[in-house]
Symmetry: C2
Subunit: 688 residues, 2 copies
């Protein structure tokens, strides 16, 4: 019911444990032993890989231990249980901490996995990878992203709680924890997300800040001397300090306090020491990103009162930590009982809940989408997109999103639907503010939660601001939808800072990302259909600001194949004109002119390279017959990559410079996007 | 002496003014008249263009007026006078305000220019463009960038003051003003830069925050409710409030107070009203990005007590504002007198000052750069870069920079040179912190100041974080140098989040940016030489983490031409292997194997497409003879774009997926970067 496409569950074979017997320590001593065991596992993993980051895991071991064993609601044997608390390790370089915790608390990650840390094909890559390792909620490493993902996760929780919870039934009722370091909090994306989280009063978001005063270049004093507590208070967060990050009781109490405030997200500032326990490296930036060294590891274990053996776990630690399995089982059982009763009391809601969590597309979801006819006035694809969104949003209650303060331009607002705000988490229109980067990372967090199909809009040129988040969506194969409007120099008067030139190409460069630049209103509808159906990666819709004529093929356009013939010669064509987006109309006009001159012209609309590459080879040869070598591609952007479609003889009409401020049609004309110029170029190619 | 490559000065012909006589108002009334005239000019410009943003200029007119006429040290007839105060309009959409101020205060921007607002070829593009319009310090529009540029400008001022000022001689002694809006302050890049500015105690940086409570989607209350004042106080800024942004006296006093604190940057929060004066649109987001409409403009002028004529300026306003010309002349004259005395007292320093400001490369600057020989052990290009940097930094006192907290990995630290810190602005090692985006924008600000040649480093994969700033450097043609290390999946254990795949291609996509990926240590030296010589755009050095053998051609490599033959067959080759960076060694090894099989192989090192495209056509044909069609390109990144060099018959060995966590050599092997695989591919191509 709520299975994710992530890693399959594997048993966690106890037989391979390297357990040692110890006398039963008293509770305080047991905590210490557990924490030091986590430190030892992290050191050993890094040492064996001869690569990695021991410092942060050692400093954060107490916080991680308290969270996983005493505070978090989770079910290690069902890492995808829906109502689990979410845990994000934003400083992904501390992965050895997470893997140690996952192993100890009973997730399907065995000791051999820890031993294979950072090796090809192992479940324990250098930075945590979602969909690869059970229990990893999101892929982290690029700093600040995990923090912002957590904001998205917490937003999703609140929205689903508002949508589904009923009196007596708290079906969605969990917390989002994120651990981050100085690096995360220096990043702008985290600042943007923190501001929004405070505005939205995400009381169930709790950030543990690893305040160790160290970054790679040295003490944070060399560059990061702001008052972080005050800054977060300014964002509207509750700020709680833990003066001694090595004391699990203090951490426990602080998080309890954090949980109690349901109106403010909480920043728990945990004063820690990097590589705590290492006599010669604790507190030093040298312990950040390199193994401690065999000798220092031994020395550290000695200081911590642990045996020198590698990867060994005291039996008492093992037993204690594995207690999470049973507690998790019980927690889920409680939830399942509740959900069963909910199903009886609110059958329709329960159904909807299951649908949402499974990302089912309801029957008929794409019926009666808008249809445009060539006799209608020209319409901008951003406008067609907005119209399509209205219809889809009525059918798909999981569809929610917004824009980075450009909703009226991106046409991303769902009419007659409330805003997602502190007072109305059930709303589906998100006001991201001028925070493109946080928007990108929050979309990732929302979709990672399950239950929501998020989209986000901005001008295409500002896709650059959110590029690191787009990359992570692609890496995690998350079907987030981007609505990028104002897609070329035809934007006009706003000038080169607002005119994309290299953006379509540079988005095509990202693996797993499907880029679709529809040529007209009907292709836009088809693009949305394709985007909604996507399951294994993000989709970027590239839309025009300016009006575009509705093309002949109309609603039967074959966008899903990435490219198709929109106008054709009788018999074998002499020339193929291929284009994407607004330039398809230009190609059509040039084609007509050339036909009048007796040239047999095929015009191919090519909205998506990725979809075309995924189409059958036969189909591709049909659309672009190898025998027809006179080819011209037209796109109002850099020519990069088109050569593969036009071949040796062909030419590309592109823009290999920045744009300029002037009315859109003037810019297009000045940069050579006219029927005359295209016809001339086509003639030249044909003469070759 | 300090001429910039910007726009040539043009006379500001008074004859075209549309001046109207008015009775001489008293000083207070004159201020109001001036301010309202600015509003009217902005409204008229937007109205005539039928496009643009009237709201912000109207709200900010009082602040702009006070700054330009009473507070700023500037010389409208010499916009490039070195010791002028710098003014950055971070919210570039308010360009009509800036253009109105530039015109009124006597910059070479005439009324016809205002009338040509947002038209092709005019000096008044939609967003301010540096190098295009005199008086525009930086290109703005993408929000947050200008704010961070201003931090760079202020850093440059402090550095140059520390380097050149002497007792009794304050040769460098100016302020940096930046105007920004809610959008700027929502952006993460501004947050990063503000944190660093506070840390660096940039007392001469003054930000006027247009607190109008409006963004495009509506009231800022819908998404931006943080306590901005408190946040900036947390960064270590002085925060000053102006309760009535329409009162020039209050603004004047606030900025005076800001200037008085030399230890903290200041945020002056000016409570304004968008479109102030417009009876039906003031205070509404509708006034943000669209003309007010003819009728509303008339009504507004009436309310403001102005004549209805378009682009008309009361004589008293004109005379008063043009007073800036004479004051500017005098200010510069004072400075010139002082500089003359300085030249006598400190001739060497004066010489150095002139050199620095003119970006002269001192004689012999590139002598005795490191030389590597093939018998030396393999060396990572990032290491060779660090060694080159040490030598260059000794010769080029203007060279300064740092890394976004990766200096030990990027090898960007200049040894035996101080850090640039609050206590030691003369230092040249900047600690940017984990703030890639701010770093990018700050580098732009520093080079815009003149007198500094800045560089910045991070991992190549995190170039994504600073992409919007890189784009602006390219757009402004600023020769910033980027040191991007860890350039491929060979990064290894850190895994896909840290392994660039699409980054080289997506940087190549940016117009005006030169991307250089050297193959070995000697090419790295040559790449630095090319980068230092660059004058018309940024240069990205793409460097390996892993060691690479030193190639045969050695120090005579022809990197400056972008590509050259590193190993050749006797006579016409049967096959060309071309590669960049670390893959050149692989191509060499495969070439040797194929030679043994009797194939005549040419190996071409191709470190830079942009340089190769700029080389003479003859040279290019010499390196890649059209007759040799059996070609294979090898690059550990996406194949995009290589087709143009390998042609129809050729093939590309690239990586069209994300990487994986494992030791670097394992990843390379698993992804097919082996001599065997390359030889196989070459054989296939030859059989075609």
């Amino acid at each position: 019911m709520y299975a994710q496409p992530g890693a399959a569950l594997r048993p966690n074979p106890l037989t391979k444990e390297n357990l040692i017997m110890t006398s039963t320590p008293d509770p305080g001593a047991l905590d210490t032993l557990c924490i030091n065991t986590i430190r030892a596992l992290a050191m050993d993993a890094v040492e064996k890989a001869n690569s990695g980051h021991p410092g942060a895991p050692m400093g954060l071991a107490p916080a991680g231990y308290v969270l996983f064993t005493r505070l978090m609601k989770h079910h290690p044997q069902k890492p995808d249980w829906l109502d689990r608390d979410r845990f994000v390790l934003s400083g992904g370089h501390a992965s050895a901490l997470l893997y140690s915790l996952l192993h100890l608390t009973g997730y399907p990650l065995c000791l051999d996995d820890l031993k294979a840390f950072r090796q090809w094909g192992s479940l324990t890559p250098g930075h945590p990878e979602h969909g690869h390792t059970p229990g990893v909620e999101t892929t982290t490493g690029p700093l600040g992203q995990g923090f912002a993902n957590a904001v998205g996760l917490a937003m999703a929780e609140r929205h689903l709680a508002a949508r589904f919870n009923q009196p007596g039934f708290a079906i969605v009722d969990h917390f989002t924890y994120v651990m981050c370091g100085d690096g995360d909090l220096m990043e702008g994306v985290a600042a943007e997300a923190a501001s929004l989280a405070g505005h939205l009063k995400l009381g169930r978001l709790i950030c543990l800040y690893d305040d160790n005063g160290i970054s790679i270049e040295g003490a944070t004093a060399i560059t990061f001397t702001e008052d972080v507590a005050k800054r977060f208070a300014a964002y509207g967060w509750q700020v709680i300090r833990v003066a001694e990050g090595n004391d699990p009781e203090l951490i426990f109490k602080a998080v309890k306090k954090a949980k109690a405030d349901r109106n403010r997200p909480s920043l728990v500032i945990v004063k820690t020491q990097i590589a705590h326990g290492s006599p010669n490296k604790q507190g030093s930036h040298e312990a950040h990103g390199a193994p401690l060294g065999k000798q220092e590891v031994c020395l550290t274990k000695e200081c911590l009162g642990l045996p020198a053996d590698e990867f060994c776990i005291p039996q008492a630690v093992f037993d204690h930590c594995r207690g999470c399995v049973e507690r998790g089982r019980k927690a889920e059982a409680r939830w399942l009982r509740q959900f069963k009763a909910y199903t009886k009391a609110h059958p329709q809601l329960a159904d909807d809940f299951v649908s949402a969590m499974s990302a089912f597309l309801p029957k008929g979801w794409d019926e009666n989408l808008p249809v445009f006819t060539p006799d209608q006035p020209a319409v901008a694809t951003r406008v067609a997109s907005g119209k399509t969104l209205q219809v889809l949003a009525r059918r798909l209650p999981t569809l929610m999103g917004g824009s980075a303060d450009l909703a009226p331009s991106n046409n991303t607002f769902i009419k007659d639907v409330a805003e997602f705000q502190a007072g109305s988490y059930g709303g589906r229109n998100i006001r991201f503010g001028v925070r493109e980067h946080a928007m990108g990372a929050i979309l990732n967090g929302m979709i990672l939660h399950n239950g929501i199909r998020p989209y986000g809009g901005t001008f295409l040129v500002f896709a650059d601001y959110m590029r690191p988040a787009i990359r992570l969506a692609a890496l995690m194969k998350l079907p987030v939808i981007y609505v990028f409007t104002h897609d070329s120099v035809a934007v006009g008067e706003d000038g080169p800072t607002h005119q994309p030139v290299e953006h379509v190409a540079s988005l095509r460069a990202i693996p797993n990302l499907t880029v679709i630049r529809p040529a007209d209103a009907n292709e836009t509808v088809a693009a949305w259909r394709t985007a909604i159906k996507a399951t294994s990666g993000p989709v970027a819709l590239i839309l025009s600001r300016q009006n575009l004529p509705v093309l002949e093929p109309g609603p039967t356009c074959n966008l899903a194949q990435g490219a198709y013939v929109v106008a054709d010669a009788k018999g074998q064509p002499d020339l193929i004109l291929m284009a994407s987006g607004s330039e398809v109309s230009l190609a059509m006009a040039a084609g007509k002119r050339l036909e009048q001159e007796g040239v047999g012209v095929r015009v191919v609309s090519m909205p998506s390279w990725e979809l075309f590459e995924a189409a059958a080879a036969d189909y591709r040869r049909q659309v672009l017959p190898p025998a027809v070598t006179a080819r011209v591609a037209i796109e109002a952007g850099i020519a990069m990559g088109w050569k593969q479609y036009v071949g040796e003889r062909g030419a590309v009409l592109g823009i290999d410079r920045f744009g300029a401020s002037a009315p859109g049609p003037v810019v297009m004309e000045k940069l050579g996007f006219t029927v005359d110029a295209l016809v001339d170029l086509a003639r030249k190619v044909m003469k070759k």
